[in-house]
């Protein structure tokens, strides 16, 4: 009974708001490019929060945006939201930080229908789950309905979020994997960054040279992070799962065993792990990052978004360089894909709120905003024209020249290296990292055993997933 009343109320409200929104959304989108002028007044808008109730009665569509950006990135995102709210008067976005991606997703799953957010930021590996269960609206539908031109969006980024030719969510905070190296150490070892990390074998030689010639305690750390492993599958231009890498249909098994992608990586990785010049700092990147920042490690593998953090933690004691991710085999033709997160429009049964969400997404992915976002956070801009903006060019040349390496390696990639999609990717990552860890630490554990364990582990997870998503 109560529910019906609430639904009716919502319906009435949305109908009454419809005219207000549709007329203003067009004006908002045309206002977007000029937003930088409005952005200077942003701080004032944050103090206007108490007025929201008054705004709502004046006909604003209020939407909720769940995100996973804490700390400095979260702070900038709040600013971005405030800027957007000030730039137009049809939509009011409320950003809500929900912990990291895992926490945010867990919460989304447990939230009853209609009480969730209108926009959801999620990691790339949550894509399949969102499509299967998330009660979402396809981004492609908004693009088509709006005749929105996405040719300026970097195709190698869009590729990840595109299934069967349709874009499901809008990339927002994008990063790509790179080798993060200590410039002075590499120089002292007499090596050229262009060739030092060309292949996995080269990485090992470089680690040895840094340890012996530059005298660092740890030559290099081939970071045990499943994302890197996935990227190395893409570097070989091979697929991770079946059914067109999970893009033509739901994946039924992983193919990294049968297409040799995994064994190629792991047999080389085993050699690296057994070398005294390489040291692995647990799973994931958090500890390797810390160790690298102390200047005692020659290189690590990480996301390009770490530049600002590591440079400031290094405190001028050394400088940070980026190199493209190594190839597995010298003849590899593939490339890297993206990590990070994208924005989903959730289906709350309300067209106005969905339209408002789309308007916000257009705003935050404008070239101007993406360039500023990149400068504040270290993520890559997803718009090609962002790279042509003068202030961003300045930033790339003067402040963060290494980011160019990441941008170029992404541009040099191919859409078919976008990476696999499956509903159990978060679980798969844990399986991959734990297995690689065992292989690194246990001398008798062979790469073949590791491949088998990874394949079996992932396949049984996929089986359970498909069984419950009939």
């Amino acid at each position: 009974m109560k529910r019906t009343v609430a639904l009716l109320l919502a319906l009435v409200l949305s109908v009454s708001l419809f005219s207000a929104c549709s007329s203003s959304s067009s004006s908002a989108s045309s206002a977007a490019p000029a937003s930088s002028a409005a952005s200077s007044s942003a701080p004032a808008s944050s103090s206007s929060a108490p007025q929201t109730t008054a705004d709502a009665s004046a006909g604003k569509v209020k939407i909720v945006f769940w995100h996973a950006m804490g700390g400095r990135n979260g702070e900038y995102l709040d600013k971005l939201i405030a800027e957007y709210n000030a730039s137009q008067d049809a939509v009011e976005v409320e950003g809500q930080y929900q912990g990291n991606y895992d926490d945010a997703l867990a919460k989304l799953r447990a939230t009853p229908e209609g009480q969730g957010p209108d926009i959801m930021q999620l990691y790339e590996i949550g894509t399949r789950w969102m499509i299967d269960n998330g009660k979402i609206r396809k981004m492609q539908d908004f693009i088509n309905a709006d005749n929105y031109d996405i040719s300026d969006y970097e195709p190698n980024i869009l590729a990840y979020y595109t299934l069967d030719g349709e874009l499901y969510s809008m990339p927002f905070n994008c990063s790509s994997p790179v080798v993060v190296y200590n410039k002075e150490a590499l120089e002292a070892a007499g090596l050229d960054p262009k060739t030092a990390f060309a292949t996995m074998d080269d990485c090992l030689k470089t680690a040895e040279a840094i340890a012996t010639k530059a005298g660092l305690p740890v030559g290099g750390s081939f970071t045990n992070y499943s994302w890197i492993f996935e990227q190395l599958v893409g570097m070989q231009e091979k697929e991770f799962v079946d059914n067109g890498n999970g893009r033509a249909g739901r994946a039924t098994k992983t193919v990294i065993g049968e297409n040799d992608a995994a064994i190629n990586i792991l047999s080389k990785w085993k050699t690296i792990a057994q070398s005294p010049y390489n040291k692995t700092f647990g799973k994931g990147t958090s500890e390797s990052k810390q160790q690298f920042a102390t200047g005692t490690v020659g290189f690590i593998l990480d996301s390009c978004s770490v530049y600002v953090d590591i440079s400031s933690a290094a405190g001028g004691k050394f400088s940070v360089g980026f190199a493209p991710l190594p190839k597995v085999n010298p003849g590899d033709t593939g490339g890297t894909s993206v990590g990070g997160g994208s924005l989903w429009i959730m289906d709350n049964g309300d067209d106005n709120r969905a339209a408002a969400a789309w308007d916000f997404i257009k705003y935050v992915t404008s070239a101007q905003e993406q360039a500023e976002w990149s400068m504040a956070t270290g993520y890559l801009p997803i718009r090609r024209s962002a790279l042509e903006l003068d202030f961003y060019k300045d930033y790339l040349t003067n402040t963060n020249p290494e980011l160019i390496v990441a941008i170029e390696s992404l541009q040099n990639s191919k859409p078919n290296c976008a990476g696999g999609i499956m509903g159990v990717f978060p679980q798969a990552r844990v399986i991959v990292e734990n297995t690689i860890e065992t292989m690194i630490n246990d001398p008798s554990y062979t790469p073949e055993q590791a491949v088998q364990a990874i394949v079996d582990g992932i396949n049984s997870e996929i089986e359970m997933y498909n069984r419950t998503n009939g």
Binding site: V64, G70, G71, R72, N73, G74, E75, Q96, Y97, Q98, G99, N100, D103, A106, K107, A110, T111, P112, Q115, S286, K289, Q290, Q291, A293, T294, G295, T296, V306, D309, I310, S312, A313, A314, G315, K317
Partner: protein, 276 residues
């Protein structure tokens, strides 16, 4: 002043006990010390126990990253409500278990204890659903409701009530004192030490919570300190000194409350020592 053997032994014993104490709290002391170090000093070999080049930017960075004081305020409000709620519900229940004989007593008591054995994570999602359905997300009610009683509190209060001599209750009954008055004016006052230690315990448990507050809050206005701690860990992974500074700032209130609580605890102990 003459120093006899016993006196010397007492002083030595005291010093010894203090040294053991320093050992027990050494991780906290080191944590405070580390929070004033830059990443490169944290990496020094051998480790520096005190900062050679102390930095304080770590603390500023914490306050820039998270609205710590707001989080602290929320934690304090939640802790207060939970402590009061638990002491009331738990001591009432414990009274029933120790001063009454009734049908189903043993079963009910076992049911209470069994709640401690249930892994929390399996029911936390269901509880979140309940809170969402009641549209209580992002309220203090949501933060405190599931924790307004605890098996731990009931069990502990019962153990304490059982040490109250039966003669006391018999005498009270003879004097015409009903159960409720006996509970309120005799049992509760003489159980002060137990209540005090339980209060401190509940405070720590509640202040410690992470998953539940994360689920039921949506905005920084309602969030508690442990969430702040986790934001910091994710955001400042590279600059570990800042994470440590956050840890220290989160620690200060709980350590402070604890030291104050300890005082009442000892006072309560003296006042409540029951003659056998």
């Amino acid at each position: 002043m003459r120093w006899n053997k016993a006196k010397v032994l007492t002083v030595l014993g005291f010093i010894g006990k203090l040294l053991v104490g320093v050992l027990v709290i050494s991780p906290i002391l080191l944590g405070v010390s580390f929070s004033f170090m830059s990443p490169s000093e944290l990496a020094s070999i051998p480790p520096h126990l005190v900062p050679h080049e102390p930095v304080t930017y770590t603390y500023q960075k914490v306050l820039q990253s998270i609205p710590l004081f707001r989080f602290l305020g929320n934690s304090m409000i939640v802790c207060t409500i939970v402590i009061v709620g638990q002491i009331l519900t738990c001591s009432l229940a414990a009274y029933a278990f120790s001063f009454f004989h009734f049908k189903g007593q043993r079963i009910l008591f076992l049911a209470v204890l069994a709640t401690m054995m249930i892994p929390v994570d399996s029911i936390i999602i269901a509880n979140y659903l309940t809170i969402s359905k009641l549209k209580l997300s992002d309220t203090y009610i949501a933060l405190v409701a599931p924790y307004l009683t605890s098996a731990m509190g009931i069990f502990f209060m019962r153990q304490s009530f059982l040490t109250i001599p039966k003669e006391l209750h018999e005498a009270a009954t003879v004097d015409g004192c009903g159960h409720f008055r006996f509970w309120f004016s005799i049992v509760m006052p003489i159980s002060k030490p137990a209540i005090a230690s339980l209060g401190v315990y509940i405070f720590i448990q509640t202040y410690n919570q992470f998953l539940w507050p994360l689920l039921v809050t949506n905005t920084n206005n309602m969030r508690t300190v442990q969430i702040g701690m986790s934001i910091l860990r994710e955001a400042e992974a590279v600059d570990y000194g800042t994470v440590l500074a956050g840890a220290v700032m989160v620690l200060i209130p709980s350590v402070f409350v604890f030291i104050v609580g300890q005082k009442y605890l000892v006072k309560g102990m003296t006042a409540g020592s029951v003659k056998g």
